[in-house]
């Protein structure tokens, strides 16, 4: 009797898309499981155990090895810089990271401030651009910051651009495109390689089909 493979999943939209991918890859997952409020959900037929976490926390569970594999947005991977293997681009939840601000934004001599939910990523990006900025960490509704004068720019995820538009902000620079990734704990990557490789290969096939 082996123990089930532990999979950390972000709650919400990515979860549904990832479950859909797994089902299409031929893993039999319980039908009711999408609207369950439980934090740990077993899928005995597929010999899997799902751990439902906040999206930003998925790489943490995987790095510490309490989950063998996980599904994490590239945004959280860039922000958290966890020591995990990033083995497959799942292609789901595509969006991108961008700098936005009020229309007609111009750099001034005043200490520039940038608000973001991704302080590490934002700091690294501006450093690479050779610009020194001060970062203000927010936990959500980032668009508020330039509107109320907390910061002159923001760094945030953009998918359709609607939120920016509705709040009268414009995109200034694109930083990096984002999709969800299959990530693997370095120990599980070696000790459970055959199972994990199989999952990755089957998912890769499904993703390939979508591209064609």
């Amino acid at each position: 009797m082996t123990e089930p493979l532990k999979i950390a999943m972000p709650k919400g939209r990515i979860f549904e898309e990832a479950v859909e991918l797994l089902r299409r890859a031929g893993f039999s997952l319980p039908p009711e499981f999408d609207d369950s409020r439980k934090l740990i959900v077993d899928a005995p037929e597929a010999d899997m155990r799902f751990i439902l976490a906040k999206p930003m926390d998925v790489p943490t569970y995987v790095e510490h090895g309490v989950a063998d594999i996980g599904v994490a947005g590239k945004d959280t991977m860039l922000e958290e810089e966890r020591d995990v293997h990033e083995v497959l681009d799942l292609g789901i939840s595509p969006c991108y990271m961008a700098v936005a601000g009020l229309p007609g934004f111009e750099k001034t001599d005043v200490n520039p401030k940038v608000a973001s939910k991704y302080p590490n990523l934002a700091a690294r990006y501006f450093k690479e651009q050779g610009e020194q900025v001060e970062i203000i960490k927010l936990n959500g509704s980032i668009e508020l910051a330039p509107l109320v004068g907390l910061a002159d720019r923001i760094v945030d995820i953009v998918s359709s651009g609607r939120t920016l538009k509705e709040n009268g902000l414009v995109e200034l620079e694109t930083i990096v495109s984002i999709t969800s990734r299959l990530i693997v704990n370095p120990v599980s990557y070696r000790l459970k390689d055959s199972r994990i490789d199989e999952i990755a290969a089957r998912l890769a096939e499904v993703i390939e089909e979508d591209v064609r």
């Binding site: 790095e63 510490h64 090895g65 309490v66 020591d83 995990v84 293997h85 990033e86 083995v87 497959l88 681009d89 990734r181 704990n185 370095p186 120990v187 599980s188 070696r190 000790l191 390689d193």
Partner: protein, 394 residues
Amino acid sequence: MTQPFMFEKPLGMRDTLPAYYQTKRSVADRLESEIGSWGYLPIETPALEYYDTVGRASAILDQQLFKLLDQQGHTLVLRPDMTAPIARVAASSLKEQSFPIRLSYHTNVFRAQQREGGRPAEFEQMGVELVGDSTASADGEVIALMAAALKEAGLEDFQVAVGHIGYVNALLFDVLGDEEPVDNLRRFLYEKNHVGFGQHVKSLGLPKEEENRLLGLLQLRGGAEKLDEADALVHNGEAGRALENLRQIREVLECYGVEQHVTFDFNLVLHMSYYTGVVFEGYGSRLGFPLAGGGRYDELLGKFERPGRATGFGIRLDLLVEALGLTGEKPAQTCILFSREQRSEAVEEARRQRGLGKRVVLQDKAGVENVEQLQSSFSEWIDLNKAAKEDEGR
């Protein structure tokens, strides 16, 4: 900065209480006796070294070093590992001793503090360095010894992944022919970012076959058959030498009978520049972090002005204890409780029992706060008062 509470320790620092100490000690003893039986001689070096020597030469990243200033204004580091100090010793105090030199260590090393739990800033490491021997027998010996030591410590379900940086470099250079793109791709492997590796390869605009050779590297993970697959990907001198080295290492591991614990993984890049040949990492099934690792570092000794080839490994004792699933157990102890008039009798009895190899506490009854609580922490309890009363009763 707020004033720390009196009970607080600096971030990342840990106390070792008796029960855990005992457990850790017994694991360390087993490792030490295995390592000692292979003829490696233990040495100690100072906790502080110069940043400009050991600090810079070490494989540990600059931001992970604990730095401080001495009174002369030199920057010092708390030793971040033992490989660089041992290289320093091999090149100085032991410079008259001819190669090869086999040394071992068991000591605390330091890494600059990290906010998150589970990452101590000071931990015990045990390991060996085999200095001045370039043979595959030496490479195989340190891997076999690491496996033997882990086994001796009681770890059953473990794996060692073995890679070769010489092969990785040979393949990347063979396809790309230039230092910069090689460096970029190697960094993706170092960061374990296979998606980024694949995307970068595709962005280079290489012919399809060349692309596939690079992507093939990601598949080189498994048993001995991967050596042949690796051979098919690149034909040049350096790759050939790396694979020949690995084949011989595999033979050595078979001789020692530890090959079932070993898999090959050509994606294993433990450091951007430090290692020069075989690299390896050890994993236990109950722990999410690698608990041991090492490899060949032929350039390090040159930095201390005694060029020499060397290989070695280090085991994280804290992680090994965790992987063994041990939480700590106090040793069995006997307590002899006495009152003043029985003191000499008590001392005599204690001496007798200690002579039998027991751990004996002698306790004056008048000094005890709570007899019942004290009694519960001992496996054997001798109350001389009671014994005396019972004698009278008879």
